[in-house]
Amino acid sequence: MKQPLISKPVTRSGSAMERSDLSSIDRSIRIPVLIFLASGVFWLMVASGFWLLASSQIHTPTAWWTFPGVAWLSFGRAYPVFLNCFVYGWATCAGIGVGIWLLARLGRVPLRNPLFPILAAATWNTGIAVGVLSVLFGATTGKQMLEFPSYAAFILFLAFVIVGLWALTIFWARRPGPTYVSQWYILGAFLWFSWMYSTANILLNFTSAPGPAQPAINWWYIGSLIDLWLTPIALGTAYYLIPKLVCRPIYSYKLALFGFWSLALLGGWTGMTHLIGGPFPAWMITASIVARVLMILPVLAVAANFHLTMKGKLEDLGWNPVLRFIVIGAMAYTAYGLEGSLISTRTIAQITQFTFVTFGHAQLGLFGFFSMILFGAYYYIVPRLLERQWLSPGFIKSHFWFSVVGIGLLLFALTIGGLIQGFGLQDPQISMGAVSDLIGPFLLIQNVAVLLLVLANIGFAIAFALILLISAPVRRRSAVIESSADAPKKIAPEVTVA
């Protein structure tokens, strides 16, 4: 070991030569990365539609918008279509696009063969479209988060193999020098996802796993999907963008390393905490609970590291929308991690298991944490890729506030409603119908919250479409930062150019 394993990211790309270097890298990956980012926005819109449909059906089962008699618009199909579009369409496309961009940036190499990733994007989108149509027509596998039938899963896997090889090639061709923790997270995420997605599909959908093993494999997969695919992508992004945005190296590399390895160790074990009391050997459940409680360690390591890196720089939040999204996302990660540990202990799970509390927790992770960080990354990356600026600070601002208020309201409704539901279920004197009545108002609030989030997503999509379609010349500083009148006069050039 001759050099430190990870070092500070290049926050001071001082010379003009290095800057032009970075933009030549950006130009080389522009098309494939933009295709993935745009696919993400497209599927986010599809997901939003089904999200609004499902969340408005759940409290008023007789309303006209339940479309009585129309199977493919019913809750049991709209809900999985929403989740799958959200995770594989939005989150995964965005994650691939941002992850590849980060690897190219940090490896400081331009991309040579853009054709393969473009092919991968086309294949991936085909897979999702096939999967969504299959679920709508009732050809689901019945395994949560793996609803897409084997043929769609196979298409998706093919696409991901190309993506994974693409990522590895970029990493291998990187310029010699120390690697940064973001590269670890992103690379780990790509390796883990190809493993979890292929083995889960092979075990469950290509071969027939013995009945009692199916839920175990299914929840091993879901836990890994959240903790070892989405989480490392978002953390890798935040580890790159936070130091960039506040112009400081990350506070502690040791802490970053510790966070990475403890996540790698624990991430695969957390899913089965959703099945406490289920028909499994006791050690499987106990090990999962222990892992989920220990997840406090990587969560706190990341939280402390981000906090200490940004210490004293929080006033930047006032004018830097990218930082705002990232900071809210990072805070949501801490909350998500701590809540996850809490609701996985046996005592609390007795109440919260099977209730909307777990739905709220999942949304805190998917939207509050992952999506917020990725939104921030979009706002940072897209202008650099296109060498354009965001046209519409209003859309960005409303995207942010609708998202924050929406996720807050959603969390409130699902957590409080879920707790009432949990205490109701716990008391055998209270009938199931009475429990439904008790949580009715909260399901309505939940619907309003989802509406806010859908509006936020639409604002995001419009901003994205505008920057794609309308060419506005770059000014010296990017529009995101200039959008606010409070922007300080002197802004370090590396924030805007690199």
């Binding site: 883990w192 093993a213 175990a216 091993w220 028909p279 099977f354």
Partner: protein, 207 residues
């Protein structure tokens, strides 16, 4: 071995541990489950599912029933499932050995269905709930699964499995509502949901 090789090995090895324990192990171990044999009577338990139940499981999946209904009973000290009369004992891996598809479920917006076929033994009851849940439980938020039924003109004698519907749900005179093949399979599946036999590893809790 340089540190990057270490990174790759570490990434695979650490994740591999969870894969071995939570995916590979149950896949192999649960394939070897055997029926239990009662010492006194020689009765085997559990027994396989009747013919159309497996097709019904497909309908159960296709319509997303498992997003709101669970199918397992927790032990007495882990929740109120037994007090709610969702089962007399907890369920264990062996209970599911004949189910080709297992839907444990993680939400209980609806009732647990582990023993649905024990609580209700009449296919009429299930048909009426699926056709209009509010007719049976006014507060229910369950969707109505109308596409599992069809309205047809009565030819001679009314069909044996015609659904008895009242009020606004009743079909026009001279017509009847019958479950489609899918609907019938789903009802068979629900009727097959009963884990009432004793198993040595899951005794009924005593006070």
């Amino acid at each position: 071995m340089n540190r990057l090789t270490g990174l790759f090995f570490g990434v695979f090895l650490l994740f591999g541990l969870s894969w071995l324990a939570l995916a590979a192990y149950p896949y192999i171990a649960f394939a070897g489950l055997q029926q239990s044999k009662d010492e006194a009577t020689g009765a085997l338990a559990p027994l396989g599912n009747p013919g159309t139940a497996d097709q019904g499981a497909r309908v159960y999946a296709a319509n997303g029933c498992f997003y709101c209904h669970s199918q397992y009973v927790r032990d007495k000290h882990e929740g109120s499932d037994i007090e709610r009369k969702w089962g007399k004992r907890r369920t264990v891996a062996r209970d599911y050995m004949f189910d080709r598809e297992v839907f444990l479920g993680t939400s209980r917006l609806g009732a647990d269905l582990t023993n649905a076929g024990d609580r209700q033994t009449d296919s009429q009851w299930f048909c009426r709930v699926l056709y209009n849940p509010r007719a049976m439980t006014p507060e229910s938020v369950m969707p109505a699964y109308r596409w599992l039924f069809r309205t047809q003109e009565i030819q001679g004698q009314p069909s044996a499995d015609a659904v008895k519907l009242e009020g606004t749900d009743a079909p026009p005179p001279g017509h009847e509502v019958v479950p489609t093949a899918e609907g019938r399979a789903l009802v068979d599946y629900l009727l097959s949901r009963k884990k009432t036999y004793p198993l040595p590893e899951a005794p009924e809790p005593t006070e």
